[in-house]
């Protein structure tokens, strides 16, 4: 479904990604973890072309992201993305946040779009909030709306870029619960997160990144019980002791 092959990226002199490769198959949940500044977010943003890269290839459902002939907006509309800071549109109601791209990109009628939005708001437990504006919701609620907004496009895969990092601790679980449910429903997911509990519960594989490199890419069992590299071991010991 998602195939990342030898991707390298430079910001000026600084090499942010060094020959990164990874595969996400249909229905798989893959978690990317690693210390901050290791290139996780940059890599996931390359997958839907929000970041460009200078070398390598990324294929999504058989379409090359870096190919100039690719209709990127069309490709992006088929891949959902959830951001660290939610990025709901502040001037639109919750309902309009979810219907905007359905109508403008997929050409759905307002009625169809609203139906879909209501159904997804029920799924994330926020049906009563639809007339409100983003700034009137808590962070956890906003992130659940953001997930609903992405799902409304009927994506073939979902990308999550540190979806709980900006949340107060008591709101993290409400978002993770939605994500777990999504994973169990068979959604293909690529998730950048520090939430190892989530990874242990639903991930098929863990990718560990450090300094722009994919250091480990292994099934979660072996990654947690017996990390191959010192760097991964150190990282795990730092985040799992508390």
């Amino acid at each position: 479904m998602i195939s990342i092959r030898n991707v390298s990226k430079w910001f000026g002199e600084f090499q942010a990604l060094k020959k990164c490769s990874a595969e996400v198959h249909k229905g798989e949940v893959v978690v990317i973890c690693g210390p901050s500044g290791s290139g996780k977010s940059t890599l996931i943003k390359c997958v839907n072309g929000l970041e460009s890269f200078q070398e390598g290839e990324i294929w999504v459902d058989g379409i090359s992201v870096a190919d100039r002939k690719t209709d990127l907006p069309k490709l992006r509309s088929r891949v959902g993305m959830v951001f660290q800071h939610f990025e709901l549109f502040p001037h639109l109601s919750i309902l309009d946040n979810i219907t905007l791209a359905q109508c403008r990109v997929l050409g759905r009628s307002k009625k169809q779009a609203v139906e879909k939005a209501v159904q997804l708001l029920e799924l994330v437990g926020l049906a009563e909030q639809k007339p409100k504006f983003p700034a009137q919701l808590s962070g956890g609620q906003q992130q659940r709306v953001a997930i609903a907004r992405a799902l409304a496009m009927d994506p073939i895969a979902m990308l999550f870029d540190e979806p709980t990092s900006a949340l107060d601790p008591e709101m993290i679980n409400e978002v993770l619960d939605v994500m777990v449910e999504l994973a169990q429903s068979g959604m293909t997911m690529l998730v950048v997160t520090h939430e190892m509990g989530f990874a242990k519960r639903v991930a098929n594989r863990i990718i560990f990144m450090d300094r722009g490199e994919v250091v480990e890419d292994r099934p979660k069992q072996t990654f947690f019980e017996n990390p191959e590299t010192n760097r991964a071991r150190q990282f795990l010991s730092k985040i799992l002791t508390h």
Binding site: K45, N48, L50, P73, K74, R76, S77, R78, V79, G80, M81, F83, H85, E87, L88, F89, P90, H91, L100, A101, R104, V105, L106, K132, F133, P134, A135, Q136, R149, A150, M153
Partner: protein
Amino acid sequence: MWLLDSTNHQSLITNHISLAAFDFSVFLRPSPESALNNLSYLLVGLGWSLLLALGSWVVAFVVGSVVGVMRTLPGRILPSIGACYVELFRNVPLLVQLFVWFFVVPDITPILGDWFKQQVPPIWQEFIAGTACLGLFTAARIAEQVRSGIGSLGTGQLGAGLALGLRRRQVYLLVLLPVAYRILIPTLTSEFLNLIKNTAVASTIGYLELAQRSASMAETTARVYEAFTAATLLYAALNLLVMFLARALERFTALPGFLGGDK
């Protein structure tokens, strides 16, 4: 060109009167345009000032938005063009720009320039030159504000829009600009107030707006205090009205829980 005329200036000083001797009946006496009394004469001038301000505002808002957006686009060429525009128009004195638009541009523009000089009535020549000058000058200032307004939304909103499959143009029109304009209402208001005050420079090319008319009323009636007091009050009243309307617009477009809107 009353600003530059020293003999009139002399006569204004020798005829000056004390504050206690304000004579409001002067407003009811015939004006330099004898069909009107002085009060109507000034009010018509206020109307021309406002018309010039509104015309210039349309130019400034459209051009300023386009240039401001250009400066936020990826690549090198469009942002550079935008930057050149801004630096050119905000670094040349307004008065010089006005003279260029009025005296130079029609002369160096083939066909359209001849039409302008021969067919367009003088008052509209002055209006068009004034609109081009004030509009394009103010556009440079609005461009900077639009750019910073979009910049303040960060790349996150753009990314979120693009990630949904919206095209860049759609993200700007549906998300970035509607939010940026809301943030910018207070600064755009002060630009509009500046623009109203700047219309007075059009008097230098003979445009009969409020400042020009108050000066010519002072000249013909020798009632300097009355004339300029009236001009002061009229400008102040107009700007207060604009501020009031801008506040109303701000309240009307405020978002719940966002930027000082009610929860």
